[in-house]
């Protein structure tokens, strides 16, 4: 908590840390209205802990992106391929 952060608590046009942490997703999504976005940028500029928090949210998002994905079992996918072939072999009866 830096002394600069005093403004965030006393000036009602700025945001407190407890509000910032609930706005980070909207901020990262680009969903904040310009005024709120500006207030949040101003807060971040003077509040290292909130900068850390935001950076950790970004790191978290990155890490989720590296979680191994699960897929359907090979056998199930083969069954589906058979079903696909069967469907297309019957729905196109010879026209002559």
């Amino acid at each position: 908590m830096s002394d600069d952060n005093r403004d965030a608590a006393t000036d009602e046009t700025t945001l407190a840390c407890i509000q910032v942490v609930e706005l980070v997703t909207a901020y990262l999504e680009g969903d904040l209205d310009p005024h709120t976005r500006h207030r949040l940028d101003e807060h971040l500029a003077v509040c290292p802990p909130c900068q850390v928090y935001l950076e950790q949210m970004r790191q978290t998002i990155d890490e989720v992106g590296s979680v191994p994905v699960e897929n359907l079992p090979e056998e199930t996918r083969a069954d589906l391929l058979d079903a696909f072939r069967a469907f297309h072999s019957t729905d196109n009866p010879s026209s002559d």
Binding site: A9, C17, E29, C50, Q56, T60, N71
Partner: protein, 266 residues
């Protein structure tokens, strides 16, 4: 439910889940996404392609309609992981989710003519999966309908960071981080997390509440856009963001706990 019960209903866009939000006009259906307009108005659309399938999707759909088995094998391999996450949002076991996804693919096979290219092919397949999974979840009497969860505001209300980490209302700096509550940096050497941390994230993701896990996985793991997630799950933009925020915040906290336990308390 019976395999043969794949009706056209599962191919349709889901109904909006939040009664408290104004219902979209019928015209919104052309987007296939039941977003609430007020939320959309302030939202930047990051990917214009959401509204119309990419050209390669239209070409892919044509190949599928023509019975191209290679194309089908490709989409099954690439879309099924996201579809499994969709299914797990509604049913309780992996086995059940696999059955739902299998059923969804059968619906896709039979329903390809109904694909109009208004969403991406993957989003369309995810929406079909959600419709089938939702039904099955109700039959299993297992899931709290997503809409009820929003109505009671329980799991999706309240702060995402422990309030004790912030200064009280009578403090000189109300709502600011306390000395001990402030998050400590994970350190530059931690910027790329090690294999152990990665396992922590995978485990944490799997343990998130269904709705949070589903949205976080679709967005941050499978790379769907906000609009695509709304389209697939029948969420408003606002609710999608709430679920995403709460899910990400829980994961961040679990990662913080991991780092603190690893490096010791400050």
């Amino acid at each position: 439910m019976h395999r043969t019960d794949v009706s056209i209903a599962v191919l349709e866009a889901p109904r909006p889940l939040t009664p408290s939000v104004a219902l979209p006009s019928r015209g919104d259906r052309r987007y296939g996404c039941t977003t609430d307009r007020s939320a959309l108005a302030e939202v930047r659309v990051p990917d214009a392609g959401v509204r119309e399938a990419a050209p390669q999707d239209a070409a892919l759909a044509d190949r599928l309609r023509n019975g191209d088995a290679d194309a089908f094998a490709h989409v099954v391999a690439s879309y099924s992981p996201a579809m499994l996450h969709v299914a797990r949002g509604f049913v309780s076991t992996s086995a059940s989710a696999e059955e739902v996804v299998q059923e969804a693919w059968l619906a896709v096979i039979k329903g390809l003519d109904a694909f109009e290219g208004r969403a991406s092919l993957r989003t369309w397949a995810c929406r079909i999966t959600a419709n089938i999974a939702r039904r099955r979840g109700v039959l299993d009497a297992r899931t709290v309908p997503w809409t009820d969860a929003f109505a009671d505001g329980d799991a999706d209300g309240g702060p995402t960071v422990d309030a004790s980490r912030f200064r009280g209302a009578d403090d000189r700096w109300p709502g600011g981080w306390t000395e001990v509550g402030a998050p400590a940096t994970w350190g530059p050497e931690r910027a790329a997390l090690d294999a152990e941390a990665r396992a922590v994230v995978a485990e944490a993701l799997s343990r998130l509440p269904d709705r949070h896990r589903t949205v976080v996985a679709l967005r941050d793991l499978h790379g769907l856009s906000a609009e695509e997630v709304c389209d697939a799950l029948g969420l408003t933009m606002g609710n999608q963001r709430v679920l995403l925020h709460r899910g990400r915040a829980q994961l961040r906290q679990l990662l913080e706990d991991y780092h603190v336990s690893k490096e010791g308390p400050r």
